[in-house]
Each structure stands twice: as C-alpha cells, then as structure tokens.
C-alpha cells in the first residue's frame, strides 16, 4: 500500500465532487490504490478519462488513490478529468473543433504558453489537437468552482475573440467557458454531445495535421521528391 490517499478517502472526495455537480454527470468511477492496479503497468499518474461511446452510456474516470498525497490533489485530478475532458465534450463536435483550433492558435499567447509548455513536455508525441485538449484540462484543474462566481459570455468557441490572431483566446476565455458550462451542467441543461466517433481527434483535422508533420519530416530528411511508384511486372510476351 502506498503512502497516498486511502480508497475510502478517495471515494469520499469523489462523492462530494459528484454532489457539487448535483449528480448530473453520467460517469462511473474506478478507484484503485495504484496505476498498476488500474492498467497493469506502473505509473505515477492520478487519473484518466474514458469517454462514453454514446449518450446512452456512461464514461469512466479512473483514479489511482495512492498517487495523491492530499484530498486537494485529488480534487484537482477530478477537475482535470471531469471539468476538463468531460466538459469540453458537452460542446457539439463542430464547437469543440473550433475551441481546439482557438487553443492551438493561442499557443504562443502569454496566458496560455505556460500551459502549452507543460503539455508539450509531457506529451511531445501526441497529435496537437490532443495537446490542445490537455491545455483546456490543465486550466480546469485549478479553477475555483466554489460559488459565487460571475458568469460571463462563453466565447471560447467563437471564431473571433480577443488578441492579435483572429482565433486567439486568452486563459480568461477558457476559465469563463468552464465556469459557465459548470453552472449549466449543475442545472441539467447540457450533456455530452461529442463522442469518440465524432471527436476532432478522430477526424480529418488530426489527419491533416499528421499529414503536415509527415511532409515536414520528409522534407527535413531529403525525401521531398515524389516517391517512385512501384513498377508493374513486365508483361509476358
């Protein structure tokens, strides 16, 4: 047994968290002492999010209780997984795609660049759209959801926002988005709309990004010439 939170401590934090959302989220929780007990491999991670496949199913949040040294740390993990990964999927696929684009467009903005640096260090090899969702979840981790908070316009998915770039958004836009949708979620006014088969990560956007990086790699390795097509076998005479 690790020196982290006990299973009982973790379950109690999770129940309080679910209650703070008025039990509006269709999620199951798999709590184990370690990452190895969850996934069969060692790890120091705190939790993971497994989306539901459809609106009639439940997603799963996994928690490695022993990897958390405090209840506050577990609260942040829950906010990362639920207010980050679940909540961003309450947008429609098109809206989520726009949010992801906006976050990518803001990679070098002063308020988002520290989050981008952290994500790119941890996940250098995942597609950029997944990195952008991690930026969103990373911001959700530390947002203060204790009321009262001032709800403002949710403009995180809009085409034009503040900033130099047309699509650029600031950290405040994302925080406002999370708080607004947190409130809507508590009132039962929104539910998950984007599922893995309609997610930006599985669509052509990721494909085109992959293609761009493949092209870049080929250019960097002197492979920019067209690859010769395999020749057909000579016809028999």
């Amino acid at each position: 047994m690790s020196k982290g939170l006990t299973l009982d401590d973790a379950k109690s934090v999770i129940l309080s968290f679910a209650e703070s959302l008025n039990f509006r989220i269709p999620l199951d929780y798999k709590v184990r002492d370690s990452w190895k007990e969850l996934y069969g491999v060692d790890g120091t991670a705190g939790g993971g999010f497994h989306s539901a496949e459809s609106v009639s199913e439940r997603g799963i949040v996994t928690i490695a209780a022993g990897n958390h040294r405090s209840k506050a740390a577990l609260q942040r993990t829950l906010q990362h997984e639920v207010l980050g990964h679940y909540l961003i999927n309450t947008y429609s696929p098109m809206e989520k795609k726009q949010i992801i684009r906006n976050i990518i467009a803001s990679e070098n903005s002063p308020s988002l660049s520290p989050h981008w640096e952290k994500v790119k260090t941890i996940y250098p090899d995942v597609p950029i759209s997944i990195q952008a969702e991690e930026v969103y979840a990373s911001i959700a981790e530390r947002i203060d959801i204790s009321p009262p908070f001032q709800l403002t316009t949710d403009n995180v998915s809009l085409n034009a926002s503040k900033g130099v770039n047309d699509n650029e958004i600031a950290i405040e836009d994302i925080e406002n988005s999370i708080l607004t949708r947190f409130s809507l979620l508590k009132d039962g006014k929104i539910q998950q709309k984007t599922f893995p088969n309609t997610d930006v990560h599985s669509g052509p956007y990721v494909g085109s990004d992959l293609e761009r990086r493949v092209t870049q790699w080929r250019n960097n390795h002197g492979m920019d010439k067209e690859i010769a097509k395999p020749t057909e076998p000579a016809p028999r005479i």
């Binding site: 509006r24 989220i25 199951d28 996934y39 491999v41 497994h50 429609s92 039962g188 006014k189």
Partner: protein
C-alpha cells in the same frame, strides 16, 4: 450557444457508480455497497493516451 436550451433530461441525475473488484465487493458491508453504488468490474483497461498528474499546493 445552441445548448443553453433546457433539454427534456433536465431532472435526470446519475448516482455515481464505483467499479470495484470482487474481493472489495465481498468485503464491503451492505451499507457501503448501497452508499457507493458498488458494481463488480474487473475488466482490464487500456491506459489512456493522456492522464492527469497529481500536483500538490505549491507545485506549478
């Protein structure tokens, strides 16, 4: 935004279910089983591509 409109599921709530091992289920009291809505699930899971990393106060 399109989903600011209340849906017919407005009153729907979901008691969190805790997916536990058979051993944990067998050791639990009836009170615990009901409080935490225990369901036995020992299905092996594939690690997610991304995950959260616990941070303590003062980290970052």
């Amino acid at each position: 935004m399109s989903d600011n409109v209340p849906t017919k599921d407005n009153d729907k709530t979901y008691a969190p279910r805790f997916l536990v091992t058979q051993e944990e289920f067998d050791k639990a009291t009836q009170e615990e089983i009901e409080k935490f809505n225990y369901v036995v699930d020992e299905t092996p899971m594939t690690p997610p591509r991304t995950y959260s990393i616990p941070t303590e106060d003062g980290d970052e």
